[in-house]
């Protein structure tokens, strides 16, 4: 029985590979490191290496390897870099937080790196199996991170809910993959598309469509698409705050990366437009439900959770019309803008969160803007950006995705998106109101440390700059999008 070694171009999975290797080493090295800050710094180094691993291939022809399982194109690299950025900032935020909350364990950073690698694989995957396993991989990592504050009850509850929900959703996802496989005989995204192109009957097969629906659901729950979002607020609230921030930024990026691959490569609009309207309705629901629910929140983490649901809806607007020129760029642009902004917002929460299990309410922000000018200003910038106020990144992002949606023929989606972003402005403004326009009831402590402030400042700066540099940022991801299909 002959054995043909597979064609393995490790460059195609360069960044995740580097991270996995580095994380494994770090896991071992950590045992001998007393100061966990060192571990954190080493993790940052690993991230830098991972980012660097993609540099030589940026702007090149896409490379496909591992029997078509993995791809390296600019989209993947962009996702990698976004993830590196997010993870790095998360690490900056975590260092002191973990210590203060007395949950400092060296394993945190390797698990974070492993999870990040898994997320990167979502961007590199070109096969439903690869995507499924990557998704499970990152899910397990996130379960661990969510429950990292063991034995805090909320942390445990978050992990538990996430895990049950995730496993439940995984069942649907794998069933969807099974059905797709059943009708097309393949799990390779590009081949699926070829089959669909070739076979008219296939395109109207209910089994295929049900499979597609299950795929959308299976990935959609990860990005908190309504009505598959209900885990989000509880998990975000209960998880250690840096993890919440990380989840809101990185998991979304990864989930959207996978959705992009699935929808864009396997079910292109020109072949199978039927999912568009479905996804558009879900996007509208996501925007509305997320924003409306956030209005009634008083706990800031829950509010940010619902806000992240809403933003998933905004990003979906671009996905709905992904066939439009510039859609992928806009999509990624939004993911970047959103990731930076949301992460920054969580960082401010981190800076203010006391040790223990107290709920952190919006009212606790009172007077922050004057007590901590930099922190307050940064938070204000994040909130305005999330609300979509120019000239911040969030505005440009919204403009791009709504323009894409409009161009794709979904003007009503853009309209709903715009109106729901007005609703969103209400609760974002409430944060600013509390920070600047109310006097504090009691002198609140804050825990601003250098790494945290650095992270916040970095995020804020990027949020401001991204808007003005919209063109370069768009070009960053725009080079080879078409070729990656």
């Amino acid at each position: 029985m002959e054995f043909t070694p597979p064609q393995t171009d490790f460059a195609t999975i360069g960044p995740p590979l580097v991270l996995v290797v580095w994380a494994t080493i770090l896991l071992l090295v950590d045992l001998f490191i007393g100061n966990k800050r060192t571990t954190a710094i080493l993790a940052l180094v690993g991230l830098a290496a991972a980012a660097a691993a993609a540099v030589p291939f940026y702007g090149q022809t896409p490379r496909i390897s591992f029997a078509g399982m993995a791809i390296l194109d600019d989209t993947a690299i962009a996702i990698d870099w976004i993830l590196v950025l997010v993870t790095a900032i998360t690490i900056l935020f975590s260092i002191d937080y973990l210590k203060r909350q007395a949950i400092e364990m060296g394993e945190f950073y390797p698990v974070l790196l492993f999870t990040t690698a898994a997320m990167m694989m979502m961007g590199h995957g070109r096969n439903l199996i690869a995507l499924f396993i990557s998704l499970e991989w990152l899910s397990i990592g996130l379960y661990v991170l969510a429950g990292f504050a063991y034995p805090r009850i909320r942390s445990q509850e978050a992990a538990m809910k996430y895990l049950l929900y995730g496993a439940f959703a995984a069942g649907f996802l794998i069933y969807g993959i099974a059905l797709i496989y059943g009708v097309t005989g393949t799990a390779d995204l590009a081949t699926i598309a070829d089959q669909l192109r070739a076979d008219q009957a296939l395109r109207s097969s209910p089994v295929l469509l049900i499979g597609l629906g299950l795929l959308l659901i299976g990935f959609g729950y990860k990005i908190s698409m309504v009505p598959f979002h209900m885990w989000t607020p509880d998990v975000y609230e209960g998880s250690p705050t840096p993890v919440s921030g990380y989840m809101s930024a990185a998991t979304k990026a990864a989930g959207f990366a996978a959705l992009l691959r699935v929808v864009d490569i396997a079910f292109p609009v020109d072949v199978l437009p039927v999912w568009q309207i479905m996804l558009a309705v879900l996007a509208a629901l996501t925007m509305l439900v997320g924003n409306i629910a956030a209005v009634a929140q008083s706990n800031i983490k829950r509010m940010l959770a619902y806000s992240s649901v809403a933003h998933a809806g905004f990003i979906l607007c671009a996905l709905v019309a992904i066939n439009v020129p510039g859609a992928v760029q806009s999509y990624l642009y939004y993911i970047l803008a959103y990731a930076l902004t949301n992460l920054g917002a969580f960082a401010v929460v981190i800076a203010l969160e006391q040790a223990g299990e107290e709920r952190f309410d919006i009212a606790d922000l009172a007077g922050l803007g004057w007590r901590q000018p930099l922190l307050g200003a940064a938070m204000a910038i994040f909130m305005l950006s999330l609300a979509g106020v120019p000239p911040l990144a969030g505005f440009f992002a919204k403009w791009l995705v709504f323009q894409v949606a409009y161009q794709g023929g979904f003007w009503w989606l853009a309209l709903i998106g715009l109106l729901s972003s007005v609703i969103s402005a209400f609760y974002y403004l409430r944060i600013i109101v509390n920070m600047y326009m109310r006097e504090p009831t009691e002198p609140a402590r804050s825990f601003t440390t250098t790494p945290l402030l650095a992270g916040v400042a970095l995020a804020a700066l990027l949020v401001i700059v991204q808007g003005f540099l919209t063109n370069p940022v768009l070009n960053l991801v725009g080079q080879t999008v078409a070729a990656g299909r």
């Binding site: 003007w411 600013i432 600047y436 725009g478």
Partner: protein, 504 residues
């Protein structure tokens, strides 16, 4: 290529950043720095006055064009230019800002640096709105103006400031996003990968870009929403009394003085130019709303006991005239509307200043708490009277010139007609009713114990009011140069919309 407009637009923001970040600026110094800075900006804008060789009033087209590609992928340009329509509003903005900053010398004593910085940032936003010729750039400035204003009301405002500022923000924001959708629609429909307004208009004129009639009307309405709320046109006005009442004096002045004008400006610049057919179609309806606003605002102002609220409702009424002038869709109406925007900025701005002065003295704005000011504060009252009369529309003062011109426009407009002018004139009567009622209660009457020891106007306050009053009188007696500078642009615009005079 010259950079005059860019300098005017960005200089204030630079000042704001300096105020925020430069170390060691005391509150006291911050006021001075801001004042000097705004004066510099004003000085920089002075060359725009016709006759200095920068702005040529004999040309209808955009002038002093600055255009640089910005977001190439989507054809967004950094594109500034000025023409007769925006010229005076630009100058009004640069003129009012130093006065407004001067008004903070007495009235703002907390977080001064932030206040002045927001004020300057706001100026950049407003100027940007007036000068941007790229739809997208315009929108950015348009939305950006909300932010500093939001903070100004929210931080330094009265007791219900938070409600007021959130309402202000959300209401305007909600309406503006509709405009964003319309802008996106225009971009997509045109398909030329450009947001440039002049280019788009050119394409429309040459027939390269035609809009379906129904769609154009919808888009018109989307723009209408944004501008109508900003103006504010009845019945979209309800944010204004709250915002005005709660805003600090400086905020009210700039809000009434410039921000509201951006709505009217937007109508002229965008609705009229982009959708001439829809403008004609909707002109009577908007005219009706404008007239209702004129009467309604005046009527309701009469029932107010809060002076600021009264002035706020008077703005609703006065801006109704502006809308009437705009949708007369003829050169006279447009002339009047633009001049009336300037006038309202001067008069109502001054009115808010005047109200602020007694608020500083008494810390109340309740009309019933005053009386007999004419006796204890004669100079103050005299100036107030002038301003009130300007607001009432007394001939020989600026308000009359604008309102009368608008009325001539509306009366002879083929889209409106004499009924609109007649009902609009009712508003003129009512203006006298509520303003004189206020004047009677506040300035006339016997001195009460509370008002007996009030100080007459200070030199600082006089410095604020005198330039305003000088312009009020100047425009009242000799508005011709103001009209002439806008004449070419306005006439060209009006001619592009359709017939300008009703058949006799």
């Amino acid at each position: 290529m010259n950079f005059l407009l860019s300098v005017i637009v960005w200089l204030p923001l630079l000042g704001a950043l300096i105020l925020l970040f430069a170390p060691g600026i005391s509150d006291h110094a911050a006021k001075r720095v801001a004042l000097i800075w705004s004066l510099v900006v004003f000085a920089a804008s002075l060359p725009l006055i016709p006759g200095f060789g920068f702005f040529d009033p004999s040309r209808a087209q955009l002038q002093l064009i600055e255009r640089v590609p910005w977001i190439g992928a989507f054809g967004v340009d950094y594109h500034l230019a000025v023409d007769g329509i925006s010229l005076w509003l630009v100058l009004l903005t640069t003129f009012l800002t130093p006065i407004v900053i001067l008004s903070t010398f007495d009235s703002v004593n907390t977080r001064v640096r932030a206040f002045e910085a927001f004020m300057l940032a706001l100026q950049t936003g407003m100027l940007g709105v007036l000068l941007a010729q790229d739809l997208f750039l315009f929108y950015i400035f348009w939305e950006f103006t909300l932010v500093p204003m939001y903070f100004l009301i929210g931080i330094w405002g009265g007791s219900r400031r938070i409600y007021a500022t959130v309402k202000f923000f959300l209401y305007t924001f909600a309406a503006s996003v509709l405009m964003l959708l319309a802008i996106i629609a225009l971009y997509v429909l045109w398909g030329a990968n450009s947001f440039s307004l002049p280019d788009m208009l050119n394409a429309m004129r040459t027939g390269q870009f035609t809009l379906d009639q129904n769609l154009a009307r919808w888009l018109f309405l989307a723009f209408f929403a944004a501008f109508a709320v900003k103006v504010p046109l009845w019945p979209f006005h309800s944010w204004l009394p709250d915002a005005h009442t709660e805003a600090p004096t400086a905020g009210s002045v700039i809000l009434a003085g410039v921000l509201l004008k951006l709505g009217g400006y937007g109508f002229i610049r965008f609705n009229l130019q982009l959708f001439p057919e829809a403008s004609r179609f909707f002109a009577p309806a908007i005219g009706v709303l404008a007239v209702i606003g004129i009467i309604y605002g005046a009527w309701i102002a009469y029932a107010q006991t809060d002076i600021k609220k009264l002035v706020a409702y008077s703005s609703v009424s006065h801006l109704g005239f502006v809308m009437l002038g705009i949708f007369a869709l003829n050169p006279i109406g447009l002339h009047g509307a633009i001049l009336q925007m300037v006038n309202h900025g001067l008069s109502t701005g001054a009115l808010f200043l005047v109200v602020g002065m007694i608020y500083e003295r008494r810390h109340t704005r309740d009309i019933n708490a005053f009386g007999g000011l004419w006796k204890v504060m004669p100079v103050y009252t005299f100036l107030s009277l002038l301003i009130v009369m300007s607001s009432i529309g007394l001939p020989a003062l600026n308000g009359f010139v604008g309102e009368a011109t608008i009325m001539f426009g509306a009366f002879s407009s083929p889209f409106l007609g004499w009924e609109f002018a007649a009902f609009g004139l009712l508003g003129v009567i009512l203006a006298a009713v509520y303003l004189l009622w206020m004047f009677r209660r506040v300035m006339m009457g016997d001195v009460t114990e509370a008002t007996a020891k009030l100080r007459d106007i200070t030199r600082l306050e006089l410095t604020m009011l005198v330039p305003l009053i000088a312009l009020i009188i100047l425009i009242g007696l000799y508005p011709a140069p103001f009209f002439r500078a806008m004449n070419e642009s306005v006439t060209a615009l009006a001619n592009s919309i359709g017939p300008t005079l009703a058949a006799r």
